[in-house]
């Protein structure tokens, strides 16, 4: 059996790595378990709203975080968590617990857990989406849009990622359609104001994407015009889906009752859940603003709350 740790951080993006730095500096015995470093932060394109970095990229910011944890000799345990549960069940909400973290490669034991597992792109769940994944359809404009130089693409979404993709498409593509199912964008006004002035980007509102079609590669999309109730067709070479994020919380037991209807982890102002010893931070939580800066702050709160909890329960 692996030795019981004081804490295990699940996830190695902005929230998890910030928590790790704070735990390390307090001499806490902990592990960071993750499949990869950076998560959604690494997939961000240009980042211009993270204080101290007037203009950077998700990849560069991830590299800076990596340098920071390397300074403290914090290593990432490469594993994928499939389940967490009580190791020695006690009264929930009243006494301290011990937990087992089951990974694909090994089991780990701990007194506390910081769930910082982030989120993954949401899917449209429409015909053609799976068939044309990587065949012209992508959930990562940062990675794949550069391959669509002088081509026509559709970007589906109404938030910052879709707008950022529009900015990149304007530089690279011959034409981009920005397909929004709503009558307005939820993203930053600053980004919207840029995109709305581009000649190469055509914004289509109230458009519900119905199908992605093609042969070997994508040839086009069909969408329902919610104003006229007509199905319309757009010939495109690429489709970029940026419709929001789905929290990575499948491994958290439903019976704990700490997930909301969106499967986000419900936390209080101290990043604590109602299960003693379980903390959470970043995009996986019910905090509405999914931002790198906010994930960093929550990661720090979760670490400080963990340290406080461990000190109080120390025998």
């Amino acid at each position: 059996m692996n030795k019981i740790k004081d804490s295990i951080i699940i996830g190695a993006s902005a929230a998890g790595l910030s928590a790790a730095i704070y735990l390390k500096r307090q001499g806490i015995d902990f592990l960071v378990i993750a499949k990869e470093i950076g998560g959604e932060m690494a997939l961000s394109g240009i980042v211009e709203n993270y204080p101290g970095f007037p203009s950077t990229t998700g990849v560069e910011l991830t590299q800076k975080f990596k340098e920071h944890i390397d300074k403290y000799n914090i290593e990432i345990t490469n594993d994928e968590v499939i389940e967490i549960n009580y190791f020695s069940p006690k009264e929930i909400e009243t006494t301290e617990n011990e937990f087992i973290v089951k990974g694909k490669k090994s089991d780990y034991f701990t007194k506390t857990i910081i769930i910082a597992s982030g989120s993954n792109p949401k899917k449209l769940n429409i015909p053609g989406e799976d068939t044309f994944y990587h065949k012209g359809l992508s959930y990562c404009y940062v990675c794949v849009l550069p391959l669509f130089k002088n081509k026509t693409v559709a970007i589906i979404g109404g938030g910052n990622s879709a707008l950022e993709a529009g900015i990149m498409a304007n530089k690279i593509c011959q034409k981009a359609y920005l397909i929004n199912k709503n009558p307005e964008f939820k993203g930053d006004k600053f980004l919207f104001n840029q995109v709305s002035k581009f000649n190469k980007v055509e914004i289509i509102y109230n458009a519900l994407t119905q199908e992605i079609y093609g042969e070997k590669f994508v040839h086009g999309i069909k969408y329902l015009d919610l104003n006229t109730k007509e199905i319309k067709d757009l010939k495109v070479d690429g489709v970029f889906v940026h419709i929001g994020l789905k929290p990575n919380s499948e491994f958290v037991p439903d019976e704990w009752g700490i997930k909301n209807e969106y499967r986000e982890i419900i936390i209080n102002e101290l990043s604590a859940t109602k299960v003693k010893g379980i903390f959470s931070a970043g995009d996986v939580t019910n905090i509405p603003y999914k931002q790198i800066g906010i994930a960093v702050g929550q990661g720090i709160i979760s670490a400080l709350s963990t340290i406080n909890y461990l000190n109080k329960t120390k025998k």
């Binding site: 990869e36 470093i37 950076g38 690494a42 997939l43 394109g45 990229t57 998700g58 990849v59 991830t62 590299q63 990587h134 065949k135 012209g136 992508s138 990562c140 940062v142 990675c143 794949v144 550069p146 391959l147 130089k149 070997k216 590669f217 690429g238």
Partner: protein, 77 residues
């Protein structure tokens, strides 16, 4: 040592992870950034039949995405 070619884009995090993985293992590789050379982009699409990056070509064995197990296997580790 087997010849390794990696097809990348500039800001693709998985491309960086793949390069770091190979560096840590002590392997040399040739990087072909498809963003800067449309010939390489076509070559990558032709070899892999798709648009995702990274694509790793280990002497004809084509691997799409960062897959440490597949890379290690192709390098006979």
């Amino acid at each position: 040592m087997k010849k390794i070619i990696i097809y990348t884009t500039t800001n693709c995090p998985w491309c960086h992870t793949t390069k770091e993985f190979l560096k840590q293992k002590g392997y040399e590789y040739e990087e072909r950034n498809v963003e800067t050379n449309s010939g390489w982009a076509n070559e990558m699409i032709q070899k892999s039949g798709q648009f995702g990056v990274p694509v790793i070509d280990i002497e004809g064995k084509i691997i799409v995405g960062f897959s440490p197990e597949e890379i290690s296997q192709a390098l006979n580790e």
